[in-house]
Symmetry: C4
Subunit: 270 residues, 4 copies
Amino acid sequence: MANKLSEARAELSLANRIVANEGIIDAFGHVSMRHPDNPKRYLLSRSRAPELVTPDDFIEYDLESQPLRDPGVGQYSERVIHGEIYKTRPEVNSVCHHHCPAFMPLLATGTDYVPIFHLGAVGGIRPPFWDQHDEFGDTNMLVVKPEEGASLARALGKHWMVLMKRHGVTVAGTSVKDCVFRCVFSARNAEYQVRSMAIGSNVASLSPGETQLAGQISAKTTGLTRSWEYWSMRVANKGGAAPAAKRSSPARAKSSKKPKRRPAGKARRR
Amino acid sequence: MANKLSEARAELSLANRIVANEGIIDAFGHVSMRHPDNPKRYLLSRSRAPELVTPDDFIEYDLESQPLRDPGVGQYSERVIHGEIYKTRPEVNSVCHHHCPAFMPLLATGTDYVPIFHLGAVGGIRPPFWDQHDEFGDTNMLVVKPEEGASLARALGKHWMVLMKRHGVTVAGTSVKDCVFRCVFSARNAEYQVRSMAIGSNVASLSPGETQLAGQISAKTTGLTRSWEYWSMRVANKGGAAPAAKRSSPARAKSSKKPKRRPAGKARRR
Amino acid sequence: MANKLSEARAELSLANRIVANEGIIDAFGHVSMRHPDNPKRYLLSRSRAPELVTPDDFIEYDLESQPLRDPGVGQYSERVIHGEIYKTRPEVNSVCHHHCPAFMPLLATGTDYVPIFHLGAVGGIRPPFWDQHDEFGDTNMLVVKPEEGASLARALGKHWMVLMKRHGVTVAGTSVKDCVFRCVFSARNAEYQVRSMAIGSNVASLSPGETQLAGQISAKTTGLTRSWEYWSMRVANKGGAAPAAKRSSPARAKSSKKPKRRPAGKARRR
Amino acid sequence: MANKLSEARAELSLANRIVANEGIIDAFGHVSMRHPDNPKRYLLSRSRAPELVTPDDFIEYDLESQPLRDPGVGQYSERVIHGEIYKTRPEVNSVCHHHCPAFMPLLATGTDYVPIFHLGAVGGIRPPFWDQHDEFGDTNMLVVKPEEGASLARALGKHWMVLMKRHGVTVAGTSVKDCVFRCVFSARNAEYQVRSMAIGSNVASLSPGETQLAGQISAKTTGLTRSWEYWSMRVANKGGAAPAAKRSSPARAKSSKKPKRRPAGKARRR
């Protein structure tokens, strides 16, 4: 079990670095995974940019997005995005929240995302929009309260992607690799879709049948393996000093004492 | 002969890395070459991103896109793109299939590619379009079946480029260097053409006479040599860890026993 | 005190490198800070590109933008931009002047900057414009004279950003980190806003309430810390030869003799 | 004298690498300088991408663009661009020919270049266009014949830049540094101008008075020095293997025997 958890942490750490390296995430955003041994838990890094996340940075959360142990470090304030989706979607094992530039024009103009090339099928046809203001009025637009995360999860429904107006995107996947694959190729598709719209009003997209079939490319071909190898190598080749792994790492379970639960609404730390 | 094959593998490996480094190809796409010693064979890498391809990765195929020996590794499912073109075009000795972002707006809007600067002549004037849906209805849009590859080769005709709607592009060349030159400069041209269209409806292009003459720049000047040197140096300067060359390399011919032929339709591996 | 000054120089040097590395500044532009020990002084580098600035490069200025000591090196001719803002805005402790490409379309078309995603709130809603020609007619468009800097500071008013038509942008912050945070995320927002306008005329923005609340994300969450760590690591990973620190460094105060004051109008050195 | 020539070669080599590194030039394009000791000569590299040019690569040409000595290596076929301008413009000491992507939309749509920010003044207001087809009909669009270069020089006139339709740009400068400064900032301006036009039809530009004054920033401020230091450091930081300096270097004058003059029209080598 420990070995499986160890591998899971390594994969999730790499996933965070991949989405940063592929231009999906900058300082803000995060990738989580459902705990490999317990579907009522998920793993999410402490508060740091995904590009810097190491296997030691992960905090174990319950689905209320409360840490199992006092991590002793800053946490992402938007972690309810992850917990609420894990609650409603048993088949989802990984979630990514990002502010990828490619999506911004779609979000700002309320333009539906449509797959315009086969790999863009991973985002589906016209995934749902969500706007925090609709239910919650003026906020600082961070999805912090459980009810805000629950609202977002409702908007996501059975889809793989929800477009958060004036904010960013949240993507769900059946595994970490699947989630990353969807993040990257939906972002590419969004980029191409926006560029196409700038030169023509009639933008061809995949049919529903094609979307359904092409959406399975990652599951049914070596495409996922090949991409993961490619993206991993690009992260490795980027080089650079490894970020400090042990500094302020979340405290490991030395005692079984749980921390006093802080209502998510109070602790507005990111 | 062995030396010629060895040089061919080195050049083809470098070609794969060049098209990746110049932004033409990412995780998906491939560059092949007709076998230097046998026009009924061609060389194509095992299934991995072109940026990672090494000389040991190449599999020898017949023109039905069947491997001569069981490679023991994943193969590109879209290899029929290459085989079918080698069948119909005796003068073509290299083929590249890619999803270059620069072309996506042209593909999505059905806009003809036209050379707008002299080096864009390599793509020709208004190269043909092809849409898998026309003949095959809803598919996952990968060109996997021999009849799909044959359809694409028919669309390519005598041209050097075919634009695959909602998918990508396939480029043919008289040599590996010629193919790469066409890939890079048609992509640059596509980029410029799209940017131009965003600011003006009247985009000047080369005349047919100019296209024909300028299209010979790579053959008749030191332009090809200069570009190849430049691109090679950029690949060399990129550095980074060399990808694992021997891991899962296609098995070399130790026995002359051919593998049982799998119908390309069945083995939907990429 | 010396330690505080030493830390301040290190932070300001890193800030200069961050804004260069994040694409906000190229050869031209600068980041300054109010002196940590004396509100009537500020620190600004000698004339060199921000990417190359080291802690030894800083010159101490009074608020008339006169150097306390003869620096013996070239100075930024546009330093009055900084001094005049420090005069009028006691709560501002850092100023950045840049020509970030993302803003150019807004400047050239006189389009108001509006936050279109939550982090863009840092620029405010419709920050003021300023055009040197209005008060000063034909000039070389460098803000060199005290009256030109004063005019710009008046236009900035109580805002955090002023858009300088046909020139660039000046950003104010309560600290160096706050100033950098505003620079980076307003630039990202400007980029997204321009891209959105290219595909739709109705671009959704934050409400005034959201802008006010989201504008506090950096002050009230770990977002600023996380971003700073991220940007610092990216600068560190960039590597490369450290620029010459001691060459032509501004002379340290060995004597208390002040240099003869040169009217800023005369010394048109950058 | 030898020392001055040695320094000139070093500066020109660095200039070639700078324009490549700043995105102005890729495989094609070149930067030359008038010989520091003889106004009837100029220095231009043998045929290789500017990013790879070393001080040993320069060939000495007369103003008819004939090499003083047989270089024994491939030469740029478009060198008459340089020679013809050196003939007609005594104050010009450096010329750059490039295909910078930023200009392509202006060239393709016949849109005048206008300075939209102060540093764009280096290109002037509405620099002239030139189209090879006007005088020469269908060609391969390389400027190879003396009469083609002379035609281009006539179009340049007293300007600092000429826009070559469906081809690229040629820039003149009073020195190598001045020429590079003009190349870089006119390219930035072109980029901004095109992006601005995509969102608004009314693009503000500099007045003639501002253009004239701002056009002197490089000559009258430390801006040129600062930029050159910045660009040089970026080239140095790029690292990578130095390209082979001695391989096929142009032969140095060991004998005074001049090569048989080949009419520029015949030797269509690049």
